[in-house]
Amino acid sequence: MKNDFHRLADDLTARVSGDEVLLLNFAGETTDFIRFNQSRVRQPGHVQQRYLAIQLVDGQGQRQATTQVTLTGDLDEDTRRTVKVVDDLRQRLPQLPKDPHIFYATEPTSSQQEAASHLPATSQVVDEVLAAGAGRDLVGLLAQGGMYRGFANSFGQRNWSTTHSFNLDWSFYLREDKAVKCGYAGVEWDGDDFRSRVDTAVEQLALLDRDPKTIPAGRYRVYLAPVALADYVGMLNRGGFGLKAHRTRQSSLLRMATDGVCLHDAVTLMDNTRDGVAPNFQADGFLKPDSVTLIDAGAHADCLVTPRSAREYGVDTNGASAGEGAASLDLAAGDLDAADVLTRLDTGVLINNVHYLNYSDRPACRITGMTRFACFWVEAGQIVAPINVMRFDETLYRVLGDNLMGLTREREMILDSGTYGGRGSVSSCFPGALVEDFNFNL
């Protein structure tokens, strides 16, 4: 795909007139999606898609017209079609008012990240998954294949990223809503690693067979496992980190930025592009720095700034993508040994997964959601019983502030299994957190 994209880009950028600027963003994938239920195959299939976003800026840099089209993969046909699309955009430009916030990279900084595929045949992975599900109730999705991202502009910049990966996101169900959630993602399938994860899940499944405990609403000491903590803190990607959200006073971290409210000094949060899996370039051609520190030792640090926000508010961009969210969220490790978590928890709730989070009071950064999958009641440092699902409603200022007892030394790399529109490249790296007085309200 890279060669086709570059040839198409060369052709289109050669056709710009005068001082016009052309920006091209390519996103493609070839993916096998195999859906499972009850340890059988529910829906198997394959998706091949190629999208090209085209942005044409007029010679004065004051107006821009944008579009996204589907490409067929036939270079001649795609060239014919996109040449016409660029002409159509050119016709649109005079109809648009001036846009004072247009901002794009003008100094070419080309880059290339290409990895060869080490993926086995999907049918082989399917066989291993079905074998793991034999005698059990396995449900989930395998997504496997290549993902391709490209950028090009009329200044000669070319960026490309190819990855070949799998993401098996599954659960073992015992009965009703009692289940263990599992994930295995990467670029090389290792059958031993997979079976080890299966064995660990099966051990947890045995714990779920105990009579469940319904705990009354109230405040409890809890341990939020890395995946649960990443989901909870990940809510900040919905309007917490962006400069636009801050300047329009809508950020859920507004009280940190304006009132000087601080979190626990163990909390250092970054958008860590260097160690993530997302491309290091964005739609306007800017490269992302290796990392942007968002919260530094409990204090608010930088915002994520798109080129458009940079122009609007008169600051520098740090290469943020649209939406100003972190694609590689990274919470620094603490000093709590994971082996000591249950002992330190003593009596409380072990939360492995959370579900359906939302702000219940955004200015207070209060977030509600549910426990889900394997969550347990712990007494005297021992797992006693699975809990029936509980609703929590708790502000981040307490969870990562006064009520934070500690973060684990060990962290987990979590590759997002999201596939809305296409396979995502979001990841996060999180420790677990021991939290006092966590509020369950239903």
Binding site: R35, R40, G45, H46, V47, T70, D177, M370, L442
Partner: protein, 477 residues
């Protein structure tokens, strides 16, 4: 293009038990004016096809944006391979699902086509409304948007089926944000709850041009309002919250694929089990819920679902009793129960699954005054702000943008950050008032997420306001 793709498909002559092609061509245009500045206008043009094969009892699909003869042939080969490879391990014998071969055309009604209005005038519509939103210095952000979608869908089966459906949608939106100190309040109109089928006539139908001053006034009221109190009280919900309540606590738990377990790894399961269908008391006698893909301007109106099944109106809950679930032909066969024509895919690159389409609360007999007058101690809430519910669709917590106390049958002071929580079954059985047909509003959201791989799709919900008793209500921090 349509003729070419159809010819390519007919030429394939697949030697399988069943084969279909679903071609989706979709154009989107989004116009947003924020703080009186036009944001980049996006115009997307997406086209592709999915070929589905059933053979030897297995099912496979392959989706491609390569619509050439060779592209479709490769897709057919992949789909066939997956069908045959997984036939022995499939969760259901797909060969026993009776796939119809429908024939016909459908076009939604459009009075004032979007494309017949020049771009400059479309921009002006949004710009004018945006300009009416900032009525006070405390308003720190404001915007107006118009999102237009046109979609054509061709469905072909190898045994002669051919349907063509054409839709246009419009989703208007307004948003205003006010701030004082570290308190920030939003008020919105539309944007994600007001999608309908049709053209620019929708703007008049939903009174779009009356909304800017109203929400600007309300956001300033809310900025200085007291926090919503905590307590158990009656709750009157306007349609722009009712749609969400129906969606989350009736629609999703009744999807047969959830009940059958397909969604347990992602969206979740359901507190409803198959044996409850036909007898379970879901709500009070006032609760009448219909699946109705025939309402002319509602968001998910269509003639055939994506398995080619004719769409018709069905009662889901009648007089409070659950009558049937929401499942297409595959789920119906798996569950051995009747369902509805709701097998739908969000686009060409995702396979059909059970979705809600239009799910409506049928009007009752109460006027707004009747319902307010019946409340001794309660609260009126409107416009959804926050939503969360458990994976069995039982324990929910929802928040609204605007609240107003009701005392002794009269509306009283405005309160900010109103939230409420409950259990789905308990909540619907506390339904004690349903607005009449004059109060019935057609709403819909373009953002219903579900499925593996993930799909976000349009669903419609038409509903009057409704009154509930003894609900746990609370406010912000």
């Amino acid at each position: 293009m349509i003729e070419t793709v159809e010819k390519h498909f007919r030429d394939l002559s697949p030697a399988v038990d069943f084969c279909s092609l679903r071609l989706v061509s979709r154009q989107d245009e989004v116009i947003e004016v924020r703080q009186d500045i036009l944001q980049p206008v996006t115009f997307d043009d997406d086209v592709g096809a999915m070929i589905t094969v059933v053979d030897a009892g297995g099912l496979g699909y392959a989706a491609t944006s390569d619509l050439t003869a060779s592209g479709l042939r490769h897709a057919l080969e992949r789909a066939t391979r997956w069908a045959r490879q997984t036939a022995a391990t499939a969760v259901v014998d797909h060969g026993k699902v009776g796939h119809p071969a429908p024939v016909g055309d459908y076009s939604c009604a459009v009075e004032r086509p979007w494309s017949a209005t020049p771009l400059v005038e479309r921009i002006d519509l949004a710009r004018t409304e945006c300009g009416r939103l900032r009525t006070d210095d405390r308003i720190v952000d404001w915007s107006a948007s118009l999102w237009w979608i046109a979609e054509q869908q061709l469905y072909l089966t190898a045994d002669g089926g051919r349907t063509m459906q054409r839709f246009e949608y419009l989703i208007p939106g307004l948003s205003v944000t006010a701030n004082e100190g570290s308190e920030t309040i939003n008020r919105r109109f539309g944007g994600f709850d007001l999608g309908r089928q049709g053209g620019l006539e929708i703007l008049d139908d939903v009174h779009f041009f009356d909304q800017a001053p109203a929400i600007a006034d309300e956001v300033l009221q809310l900025l200085v309002a007291p926090n919503c109190p905590t307590g158990t009280m009656d709750l009157l919900l306007d349609p722009d919250q009712m749609y969400l309540q129906i969606h989350e606590s009736i629609g999703h738990p009744l999807e047969l694929d959830r009940i059958l377990g397909d969604e347990r790894n992602y969206a979740g399961t359901s507190f409803v089990t198959l044996d409850m269908i036909g007898s379970y008391r879901y709500g009070s006698d006032l609760l009448n819920i219909t699946f109705d893909p025939t309402v002319a301007d509602e968001f998910a109106t269509y003639r055939w679902d994506d398995d080619g099944v004719v769409a018709d109106k069905q009662y889901i809950i009648r007089d409070g009793i659950l009558e049937r679930g929401l499942g297409g032909i595959t789920s119906q066969m798996r569950a051995h129960l009747p369902g509805v024509s709701n097998s739908r895919a969000c686009s060409w690159n995702r396979p059909p699954i059970d979705r809600m389409a239009n799910l409506n609360l049928e009007p009752g007999a109460a006027s707004r005054e009747d319902m307010i007058g019946a409340v001794e101690h309660g609260i009126y809430m409107k416009r959804n702000l926050s939503w969360s519910i458990d994976d069995s669709r039982n324990k929910f917590q929802f928040g609204c943008e605007y609240g107003r106390m009701i005392r002794d049958g009269e509306l009283a002071e405005v309160v900010k950050k109103p939230n409420y929580k409950g259990i789905s079954g308990t909540f619907w059985r506390s339904l004690k008032g349903v607005g009449n047909a004059d109060l019935f509003e057609v709403l819909g959201t373009p953002f219903c997420g579900k499925g593996e791989p993930n799909q976000v799709i349009r669903v419609g919900h038409a509903t009057p306001p409704a009154l509930f008793g003894d609900v746990a209500v609370f406010g912000g921090e």
